[in-house]
């Protein structure tokens, strides 16, 4: 029995060691990028294009809500580049002295409305959100997309009694897609990404935008600055535009 237990421990130790030191064949640099959830699809594409241009750099992407990422950075999580969905969260990281450079705005995202296919409740304008019989889903005000929605309503004195405050924007899309609500307030990029499953009702809400910014974190290798430069380059901006992001 002792032998079995000893073998198990050995196997575990070897596995842990193997996990610790990954591919050591090529002299490559690993970059860890912490990016807001709403950047999931576009950063996957950006990282692929960047790696194609720089074969010696491996990009490792971590996605989560911006605030969650800021907390992780404050707790000392390893990361080299941070891309935030809003200014407030970026400022938090800068104030804590975690940033190596000034934040660079790289994209904007405006709000729009999505409805289940066929638009059963006949939603056509932002003002419809005030219709009492309409089931409305939006993000919780604690996350950036919910804060932006609240700011949008306030800017035009619209009183909206939302029926659900989802913890993230993807959950809003799901509730609309399943027809559980009549309309959802989401980012334009989310509407575009889900365009085969939900219908977008375009509104002009361009005066309320989330500004995305990116920063190199303290202690990052020089390659991190090249990645930031790539995001800001015409090629990077074209990829962002393709996903529905606005120019900074």
């Amino acid at each position: 029995m002792t032998l079995t237990a000893g073998t198990t421990v050995t196997v575990l130790a070897v596995a842990l060691l193997a996990a610790g030191c990954s591919s050591d064949s090529a002299p490559s640099t690993d970059l860890t990028v912490l990016a807001a959830s709403s950047l999931t699809d576009v950063y996957d594409e950006l990282a692929q294009a960047f790696e194609a241009a720089h074969p010696d750099i491996d990009v490792d992407l971590q996605f989560a809500g911006s605030s969650r990422l800021a907390s992780l950075i404050e707790e000392g999580a390893p990361g080299h580049v941070f891309a935030s969905a809003d200014r407030r969260t970026m400022q938090r990281v800068v104030d804590r002295g975690e940033a190596a450079t000034d934040p660079r705005p790289f994209a904007t995202n405006a709000l729009t409305l999505i409805v289940p296919s066929g638009n059963p409740a006949d939603v056509s304008a932002l003002g419809d959100l005030a219709r009492p019989e309409l089931l409305v889903a939006q993000c919780a005000v604690q996350v950036p997309c919910g804060a932006a929605a609240a700011e949008l309503y306030a800017s035009i004195d619209l009183v909206v009694e939302a029926d659900s405050f989802e913890p993230n924007v993807r959950a809003v899309v799901t509730k609309v897609e399943l027809g559980e609500v009549d309309v959802g307030v989401v980012y334009r990029t989310d509407a575009l990404a889900a365009s085969d499953r939900v219908t977008e009702v375009s509104i002009d809400a361009s005066w309320v935008v989330n500004e995305y910014s990116v920063v190199t974190l303290a202690g990052a290798p020089a390659e991190a600055d090249r990645l930031v430069a790539f995001v800001l380059s015409p090629e990077g901006q074209a990829i962002l535009a393709g996903h529905g992001f606005g120019a900074p």
């Binding site: 089931l135 604690q142 029926d163 659900s164 989802e166 913890p167 399943l178 559980e180």
Partner: protein
Amino acid sequence: MNRRPPLVLAIPAAIAVGLLVLPLVALLQRAPWSSLLDLLTTSTVAEAMRLSLVVSLVATTIGVALGLPLAWLLARVEFPGRAVVRALVLLPMVLPPVVGGTALLFALGRRGLAGQWLDRWFGLTLPFSTTGAVIAATFVAMPFFVLTVEAAIRQSDAGLEDAAATLGATPMAVFRRVTLPLVAPSIAAGAALTWARALGEFGATVAFAGNVPGRTQTLPLATFLALESNPDEAIALSLVLLAVSLVVLVSLRRHWVLR
């Protein structure tokens, strides 16, 4: 005789204890003790606490009312497909709650398998309602009651039930006067477990019932959202849930530890 445990066993055991205890110590160390009372008396938190109590207690009541007959049936009646039913009852315990909540949405949502008829015939919409939160909590928590009580009934002495039956007691009387008193401690333990699970329920609730303050935003949902904006509030809420869990464990310790 003082037996020294072999190091090969003692070290992993110590690591296991450390892994389980360290996060709790860290939570206590980070707790904003001075402002705790203020954090816990805001209207959002008070509302979430009230709602959590209501939802978890109603879910436990439903779990007991439906789970007790089911536990008895599984323990005492041979019927075709019993093994399948038992596996189905246990499924919510291993299924990720978010998956369970999404499945509930497909079943009872406004366009769901059964939900579309509820909506059409009775104008009843379950998502985004407290009823929906109760259903989600019952879905994930009831198996804990069924499992505990079924095991207790199976381990109880069937001979006593037979004796009562030979003496002329009807099956219902046997259940009420013999079976129930025999397994009463397990019913209490199962109900406590079910309540604790319902109180901590997050995934199925947020997927099925959404997050509506005052209607479906229970303590775990409020905690999750507080993490996005106000970590101190999240820690304060976590402490409440931790305290409740400890109380449940302590009250169950006779049931488990001293068995």
